[in-house]
């Protein structure tokens, strides 16, 4: 493990608004933070960079009083502090905007901000606050209606509520945990403007991310975490993206594009003017027409919530379009159920691995036949043939290298990567015609992600169509033949992956239609 030179202790302490020294934290089975030191100064954005599982969120949860460290100290302006609860941290001027918002959805914006705020009156708690919210929103460019109910707001607006909440509570140090995961590139730019404004006002910002380019844009300093330990701290001036990438990955990373044969001209799947309503009755997919060819990986990009979920549900039978048709290799499958589509040859790698892809309290073997238990050889009439199931389980575990003590182990005891392997073993066993993969490498470690990619490529080799929905543009650019972009339920465009550029994709993801002539115009902030 490389450790870049740590900053000299005394010089840093006096200049830092916050410093965390030698913080260690353990959970059952894992060392989440290993002797981590980190500090931040007023008027600075200090980024915390690392992959999923590197320990960034744990560190910030310690800072925010949600966990207490097993070892190490936290100091504010040189003074030793010990936060027992988020309230302690808030009182000392630390605000957290978490990745998953802590908002009560049925409350109004003002009510959410009023929560835990000192000085909130007992009667009519939100009256005065609403005015303050409006003013502060104007000042920082974070406008939002105090009387709107949170469930009515978009993720970007909800994030503004969280930021306003932290600011109104007097945060001098703002922690943003993966803030752009719910934003379009244009919304992210707005956020960066807000952060510049905060820097000017003397706020300190801790920016947690796994996205290199953002960190390079906004941060003065970058601390890189890998597997719970600090592997380097760089000043923006001297740092290069490949340096940071190297620290993050631990080895030289060259983006590979492994491609062999081109896709066939025949369609594996085609959607024709498909309209899907979501669970609230709102149109979530509007007149989408596209085609996935046999032997092709079609990537679907777009910030979550723009119809990807509904697209996946329509293709896997969990939800039916009320208009339009879906054909699988020429056969109309529009009205088929989940069972029907599976039988027709559609494999589904679900986004929610643990609550949909497996039954956590059932065994590995049972989970391996979760979808095919009805058919021969696993079923004879009304009864299940456990011998066949066992045989299948043994083979699958071996072939896919699922690390499990036995096939009777409960699935919830498996790590994320192995759960995904289980799901892949099951879904890919039937030689599917179409593989629908929803965020398949989310939360997986590097080797599990690589295995997943290889399996998807192998499906492509054997002539299946693959629909890959992902928020990771790098993943899409690496694997897909073509990339489609969804915005607000509409298909904005499909581009060839080899020639695509990120800015163009970013614009499409933000709803700007792309004709060929617009390419010279540059991005316009919304």
């Amino acid at each position: 493990m490389i450790r870049a030179a740590a900053p000299t202790p005394t010089a840093v302490k006096t200049a830092s608004l916050l410093s965390m020294e030698n913080i260690s934290k353990r959970f059952p089975g894992v060392l989440a933070n290993d002797c981590v030191s980190f500090d931040v100064r007023a008027g600075e954005v200090h980024a915390l960079l690392g992959e999923n599982g590197a320990g960034k969120t744990t560190l910030m949860n310690i800072l925010y009083g949600l966990y207490s460290p097993d070892e190490g100290e936290v100091r504010l302006s040189g003074e030793l502090v010990n936060f027992r609860s988020p309230k302690d941290a808030m009182n000392r001027g630390i605000g957290l905007v978490a990745q998953h918002f802590h908002l009560a959805r049925r409350h109004t914006v003002a009510e959410n901000i009023a929560l835990g705020l000192k000085g909130t009156p007992f009667l009519f708690p939100v009256r005065e606050l609403s005015e303050r919210i409006r003013k502060l929103g104007q000042k920082y460019g974070l406008a939002v209606d105090p009387n709107a109910r949170v469930w009515q707001l978009s993720p970007g607006e909800q994030q503004r509520v969280e930021i306003l909440k932290a600011l109104i509570q007097g945060a001098k140090i703002l922690i943003l945990d993966e803030p752009t995961s719910v934003l379009t590139p244009q919304e992210a730019e707005s956020l960066f403007k807000v952060l510049e404004q905060m820097k000017a006002e003397g706020e300190a910002v801790i920016f947690i991310s796994h996205k290199l380019d953002e960190v390079m844009t906004i941060a003065e300093r970058v601390t890189v975490l890998r597997k719970g330990a600090v592997v380097g701290m760089l000043e923006k001036k001297g740092a290069s993206p490949s340096q940071l990438a190297q620290l993050m990955m631990g080895r030289k990373v060259t983006p590979l594009r492994q491609k062999s044969k081109p896709p066939l001209e025949k369609a594996a799947l085609s959607l024709n003017d498909v309209w899907v309503r979501n669970s609230r009755g709102v149109e979530a997919l509007k007149g989408v027409s596209l085609e996935i060819r046999q032997g092709e990986i079609l990537g679907v990009a777009g910030v979550a919530g723009n119809g990807q979920g509904e697209l996946i549900e329509a293709l896997t039978g969990l939800h039916q379009p009320h208009r339009g048709t879906i054909s699988l290799k020429g056969k109309d499958v529009t009205t088929l159920s989940a069972k029907g589509l599976f039988e027709a040859g559609v494999a589904h790698i679900p986004e929610d691995r643990n609550h949909m892809g497996i039954v956590p309290s059932m065994s590995v073997a049972e989970n391996l036949v979760l979808r095919q238990y009805r058919y021969a050889p696993f079923a004879r009439g009304e009864m299940l043939d456990w011998k066949e199931v066992t045989r299948f389980a043994d083979t699958s575990i071996k072939d896919y290298e699922v690390a499990t003590p036995s096939k009777d182990t409960l699935a919830r005891l498996l790590s994320g990567g192995n759960v995904q392997k289980l799901i892949l073993a099951r879904e890919l066993s039937g030689d599917p015609k179409l593989v629908v993969a929803a965020h398949p490498t989310y939360g997986l470690d590097v080797s599990a992600a690589a295995l997943t990619h290889n399996l998807l490529l192998r499906q492509r080799e054997r002539g299946a169509g693959v629909l890959l929905v992902s928020e990771d543009l790098d993943e899409l650019l690496k694997l897909a033949d073509r990339i489609a972009v969804l915005f607000a339920g509409k298909l904005m465009g499909i581009v060839d992956a080899e020639t695509a550029d990120r800015e163009q994709l970013g614009l499409m993801m933000a709803g700007v239609e792309q004709g060929l002539g617009d390419r010279g115009r540059g991005s316009e902030s919304v």
Binding site: L66, P86, H102, L103, A104, R106, H107, E111, L115, L123
Partner: protein, 308 residues
């Protein structure tokens, strides 16, 4: 239509709805904090029996009422401990308390069965208002004090729930305990208080039956009213003012089932309120007004810090 029938129906419905309202209000607060209390029936019956015993022995029904409230609260404390601290299945916990409560109450009250209360809570006639035509006898004559108190408490609880910080805190705990925790609210303490409050209200509801409405004691005298109060809380969409209307509606139905006995068969009528409860639940389920109305999001889920 006979005016007299309408007037007496309204009056009786009001009286009958009182225990339903008290118990439902308590349950609304408990569920708004995120905890389901299936022990309402048990707490009501314990309140009824203890209220009666104390009322009979001391001669003061109001003292009985106080004790009943305390007993309900105590049983609720047990439920809170099991479902909040031990994080056991809260549905089963409530059910256990009901079974236990029904048995225990029968045990405690076995010497008092059928004994009329010496000094019951009497009627109250609101001066001036009771002499108004039609609504006078309907609403303001010969009701129990607890009935009017119930209405006042309902209004108070409604105000607190929506227009005070306390109510906001309570609602937050039930909608998003995580948000509450992060804001520094003690989720555990709020839930405990809400559940105990629910028990106190249920105890009072039971005492109303044995000390005022039917001043006597009989085994199982609540006859499933606790369950109906539970359904009421849902039917009222967890809103205290709506609960007043809903309780009155159910009360009216019960009353009509008695007064129309000459026209319809008694047993078949007595089961109508239970049928109506099911119908009410169906109506609520069908008319789900999207996200605006609905159960508190965290209802029925134990809160464990660290589960994010």
């Amino acid at each position: 239509m006979d005016v007299g029938l309408i007037v007496s129906t309204i009056a009786r419905a009001l009286a009958f709805s009182t225990p339903l309202l008290w118990a439902a209000l308590g349950e609304i607060y408990a569920e708004r904090a995120g905890v389901v209390n299936l022990g309402v029936e048990g707490m009501m019956i314990l309140g009824a029996v203890m209220g009666f015993i104390v009322g009979q022995s001391t001669g003061s029904p109001w003292l009985g009422l106080l004790v009943a409230a305390g007993v309900g609260g105590l049983a609720a404390l047990l439920h809170a401990f099991i479902s909040i601290t031990l994080r056991a299945n809260q549905y089963v916990s409530g059910l256990a308390i009901t079974i236990f409560g029904l048995g225990l109450s029968g045990l405690l009250g076995r010497n008092f069965v059928g004994v009329p209360l010496n000094n019951a809570m009497g009627f109250v006639n609101l001066p001036g208002l009771s002499s108004l035509p039609i609504i006078g006898p309907a609403l303001f004559t010969n009701q129990y004090l607890l009935t009017y108190l119930g209405l006042i408490v309902a209004a108070l609880l409604w105000f607190v729930l929506y227009y005070t910080r306390l109510g906001m805190t309570l609602r937050t705990v039930g909608e998003s305990p995580v948000a509450a925790d992060v804001a520094g609210i003690n989720v555990i303490r709020v839930r405990y208080l809400a559940v105990v409050f629910g028990g106190v209200m249920a105890g009072i509801a039971g005492a109303y039956l044995s000390l005022a409405y039917r001043p006597s004691w009989g085994e199982n005298m609540t006859n499933g009213m606790g369950w109906i109060a539970l359904a009421l809380a849902i039917f009222a969409l967890w809103d205290p003012l709506r609960a007043v209307g809903a309780a009155f509606l159910f009360g009216a139905f019960f009353t009509l089932s008695f007064s129309l006995q000459s026209v319809f068969n008694p047993q078949l009528l007595t089961l109508m309120p239970y049928v109506f409860t099911i119908v009410a639940l169906i109506i609520v389920a069908l008319g789900k007004g999207g996200r605006a109305f609905g159960a508190p999001e965290a209802l029925g889920q134990p809160y464990e810090r660290g589960e994010r």
